[in-house]
Amino acid sequence: MAEQGWGSVPYVAEQFRRFYASRAERVKAPPEIKQREFGFLSFGGRSMFRHIAFDDVNQLRSHLAENTPAHAYYSAAYYSAPEAEMEYKGWLGADLVFDIDADHIDTPCKADHDRWRCRACGEEGTGRAPERCPSCGKAAFEEETWLCDRCLEAAKYEAQKLLDILIQDFGFSPGELEVNFSGNRGYHVHVRSPHVRGLGQLARREIVDYIMGIGIKPEYQGLSSRMRGGPPSLLEDGWRGRSVKALYDYINDATPDAIKALKLGRATTANLLEHRDKILRLLMERHPSSIVRYVDPKALERLMEAAVKEQASAIDTVVTTDVHRLIRLPNTLHGKTGWLAQTVAIDDLEDYDPLASAIAFTDGTERVYVRRAPRFRIGDETYGPFEEERVELPLAAALFLLCKKAARVER
């Protein structure tokens, strides 16, 4: 075989083809498949093949086996004519979907495994790309993102918080929820309930704000000088309890420097530092309004905003509010990792390990030349870090590096 480019696309495509030839049968139809739009990205292709519809799961499976896409998606929306152009599709409603992506979570490990390179001047750095290149000031970058246990655990933790809110506050039953590992850096949560189908963008935006705690105001959580008396609210349902718990945890855990950094004003800062135990006790034992005399209203708003971040779930705001969104089809391969997107039972999420469960290629090895890769784990084995070296790896590890464009096949 001739020298191939980074990523050895034809080789990866061939592996994907073999996979779908035998395992396309395991792909399940999303509910009401006839009303869904499907979209596929092919290997090497830059544009999405979309506006595709299937009558049943067998058509979908044959399509996967015959076309071997690098990525497979379907619509959260239901349409009367899913194959038509956008304006003639006839939108009937959409599942409520949430996307949690480690990209949006500030995990400290990003500095270890992510890199960027300025397209204009070639300047390089680690971690997330800056707003502007420090060297030339342009804002176009090539980004290299990797993932590790810490990123995946962080994403899972956000998914668990999201599920708690959906079940406890919104009253969805676990049977109405589907959780999928995305096959890369995160999780997708689908809510399928006749109640949510018809929700418009405005309503979905309010749901996003609720889940992220955006726009939360202390006075509507019981923290106002106008209210007095009543029991403590720490253990109450919804944000009323959650926000006070958030305040409690935040005040309890924050270092004096973190408190000062919030710039809450001299009096409030002093109170928080000197009367911390008293304030915590009041939150625990009394109606939350009893702390208002230690924290002025403006400061309280800012303090709560900072505190609720830990209790809120870091979902992608755009995905949930877009009622025409295409989302990855479970049990298909993710072209950027070679792993499976897969459905995880809610009860199993706690112990779910994508780096063991979502591995699609389990047999054989391959020799690759790696230009650079951080240390990574698959199953019980860890590999790398690699730099400019030839290695023979189990197929799953080799494909992972190839899909990340960090290696090429050596023959």
Binding site: D169, F170, G198, G213, Y220, V318
Partner: protein, 351 residues
Amino acid sequence: MISEREAAKYPFLKGAVSLVETLSLKVDDLADPSYSRVLDRGEQRVSEAILEGIVSASLGDALTEMLSFPVAVMFVTVVGDRFLDRRYALAEAVRVYELLKGESETRIARMAREEFGWNLRLIRRELDGQIYRFELHFTDYLRNAASFHEDKWKLVNRVMRDGYVLLTRVEAARLIQVEVEDLIRKRVSKHGRIALPDAVQERVDRVAKLFEEHRARIGGEELPSEVVSDAFPPCIRHAFEGLMSGRRASHMERFALTSFLVNAGMDLDRIVQLFVSVTDFDEQLTRYQIEHIAGLRGSRTRYTPPTCATMRTHGVCYNPDRLCKRIKHPLTYYRIKIRDFKKKGEGRPAE
């Protein structure tokens, strides 16, 4: 069967509509002098909407009050202006809100369930000095409250449990107002010309004239053809200056900026140039996307910028100022600023 008085109070109710239908009134009948009071009151309903923003409740003569509603709806329909549609629907809905505030919980609940299909439970719970009388399923809640501006209506600031949101009696009435507004707006927006008897057409013309006189105040006026960048809201200014300085912007921020500029009337070629000159975007692709937003391609709908609340959700609301507190939409900010500039300009002594 619904009582005449009930139908007079709430003439949009299914029962009231069928009560009117049993009278099988024809347009030509309205020219008969015996209907002049109905026509008067119908005209008054629309002029109250234009002038006051609220229709009064004149329940002394129940039959006239009931019959004047479909007449007023017909007037608005024939005038055929979507700003008047909105103005009128809102004014009738505010009238209903005022009446509902005096009704019992059971009456409110009955209307909510029977007319608007709400999933609503009667309860009684006291919390922080408020008495909550209803639990409403969050989907019904959001359908009506999601467009509200005040913090207290945000779902995150409500008490919600198992999918149900607590509501006071007055809050429930306020949400029904939104349902009524939607219902009436849908009815009046079916514009169409009807041949009317002269006596009736005269009144339509009067209403149309009154509306034209007050159009500017109500907010149906056009924006100036020149783009006034001094009148940009802080979020758009931030996006605009960011673009000029080559800062990376999110998709949402770029969309907000582009759709704002399109709606503010900036020439598409200028917008394309703006993007191409300061970024390394491909000109053809940029033009395609901007033309899409401007409604020249694809679905042919011109996109309006996101609302303030949407900007906040996506983290692109920056440095809100005092005017921002009063408005819900970046274009409204722009409109008000421009109006202020004009006023100040007019106040200047002539040279």
